[in-house]
């Protein structure tokens, strides 16, 4: 009886140990994921900018102009509002455009 109880205790301890190993592995995986992001942001991306002329030129332009290149809909991009107004005014008032008032 005593032997059986000892075996159960050992089993519980091993299970707990397995759980904690799994937990450690999961947290390590999370840390690896964060490290991967860090390497991309501060390693790969700047490296690409340094070694590719077209990437560097466009990156410098985006930085200088402040265009929100990551936006996916037109209402989030100021330049689209500007383009819409300029094109609309062009066609409305300029000869050869769609001026309905003239």
């Amino acid at each position: 009886m005593k032997t059986l109880s000892m075996a159960c205790d050992i089993g519980k301890i091993m299970k707990r140990s397995d759980n904690s190993t799994g937990l450690v592995r999961r947290w390590l995986a999370l840390a690896a994921g964060i490290l991967g992001i860090w390497l991309f942001v501060y390693g790969f991306a700047p490296w690409l900018q340094r070694h590719s002329e077209p990437v560097r030129t466009l990156s410098e332009y985006i930085d200088a102009s402040g265009v929100n290149a990551g936006s996916f809909y037109y209402t989030s991009v100021e330049e689209v509002g500007e383009a819409d107004r300029a094109i609309r005014n062009t066609f409305r008032f300029f000869p050869g455009g769609h001026d309905s008032e003239k």
Binding site: V41, L58, I62, N68, A69, G70, F72, F93, D99
Partner: protein
Amino acid sequence: MTEENKHKQADTVEIVRDKAEVKLSDLWKKEDYWAIWLGFLLLAVGMMIFLPRPPENMRETIGKAEQTMAAEAARAPIKTIEWYKASDASGKVKATDLDYAKKIKNFLDHPQKWQNNPLQAFVMDKETAENKNAKAQPKFDAAKAAEEEALAAAKAAQDLAAAAGFQNTELNSAAKTAITDWRAAHRKASDAKKKTKAQAYNLFPSLIGVGIVLAILFSIGIKFMTGKVGPFFTAFPLVFIIAVLAYMMEGQATMKEFGIGYAAWAIIFGLIISNTVGTPKWVLPAVQTEFYIKTGLVLLGGEILFSKLLSIGLPGIFVAWVVTPIVLVTTFIFGQKVLKMPSPTLNMVISADMSVCGVSAAIATAAACRAKKEELTLAVGLSLVFTAIMMVVMPAVIKATGMDHVLGGAWMGGTIDATGAVAAAGAFLSERALYTAATIKMIQNVLIGVIAFFVAVYWCAKYECEPGQKVGISEIWLRFPKFVLGFIAASVIFSGLYSTMGESVGAAVIDHGVLRGFTRNFREWFFCLAFTSIGLATNFRELKHHFKGGKPLILYFCGQTFNLILTLIMAYVMFFLVFPEITATI
């Protein structure tokens, strides 16, 4: 059983569908209706705030600018300096520049730009702001001086052309070139000026406020649908914090330059958590992907203004509204018949995402055809990668080949997925390229409403029934995702309102008021929460399964190649053969 039928059967298990019966209680028990109620509540609040408070002397200022533009257009066959100045003045009339609108923007704002210190995304003291401004000042001074010099040269060239009564082609052409140079210098100076305007901020109080507002808003729907508000409230802060971190990463300087936005970061953070330490069970009540997406889409409906369709005339319609559906349908058929994509929903989401406008089209079609979360993740991922590549490669090709910038702009506007990337690539080339590219993209953005509606109807009538089964209109109605009605209704109401007010006034109080100043900010938060939820609920193994054989990548690549060829041909035919006068005018 075929692969497709197996997939359909799997879908039946995993996707929540409306039961084939209509109850009055659906109006307060179903997520689709709650998305409509919450979306319309925000649209109504936005209208109540902005419509009674237009910019002071709005009509007078716009009227004066329009008079000047009309007079200048009658005086000269080229866009004169005065014409441009008047056009700029009319654009400065917008509700979003008023004090109350700035307060709303500051409250709903997301983390700011930073380089090495992430804390700067949330807090910047006065001293740091002043240092930034001082550092940017010399560049602005130089840009301002260059602008003044360019303006003087443009004035001299214009005076010469005017002295000849604008009858001398050579002088007109020289004036046009000098004015174009001045516009480029003017843009540089404006951009440099923005960098001298940094102000101190502390976003922590407003972010807490936004979190509370969003939690209350969605808990109203949760209360009626499930009654379990407590677990939602407990879980929401973690989902919101991850969404804030996604915005923070969007603001990282290098990531901004690569155009990697919050959608990618929200999915990445969610995926990393769910596939490593695991998403805690107590967080799941706030992982309300569909609820956030549908509510965001109803708000997006308000931003679909149909009068924008004619912004660039018929060529725009042909490039954005004829080519796009052809590419969408062809790619979908190619995916089904040739590639034999195992999942038609994945096929549709990738086809729409690639042909229409990337992430926003992917969200709308995924919701309309009830695609799985992993399928949306995959489509968004493909779109982001190809957008980043095309944003760099296309301007380089256009420059190298000496392609006309109107043609190049139309080509980029019709093919690069994300609007921000289109604007960046266009502006990088020239003002003409920017104006054409951005306008074509905007017209294509409007297509989302129509695509989402037809995809929803097509899916109800064809893909959600047994082979050979015919579905009647009443059955289609029962299966139809009802939030799409809210999406369409918002678009119809705002398009009507915009047109009734007239383009200029509508742009000042609807586009640059209710929409850009209020509902857009909420919509972006909702989508960010949705992408965070998608990441938190997605398993890498599921993603891997969808990517089997690389079919999604082949589909995207083939579809995009077809899109590039067809858009270029159509843009050339429209802008150079059929409507060359429009090209000359831009």
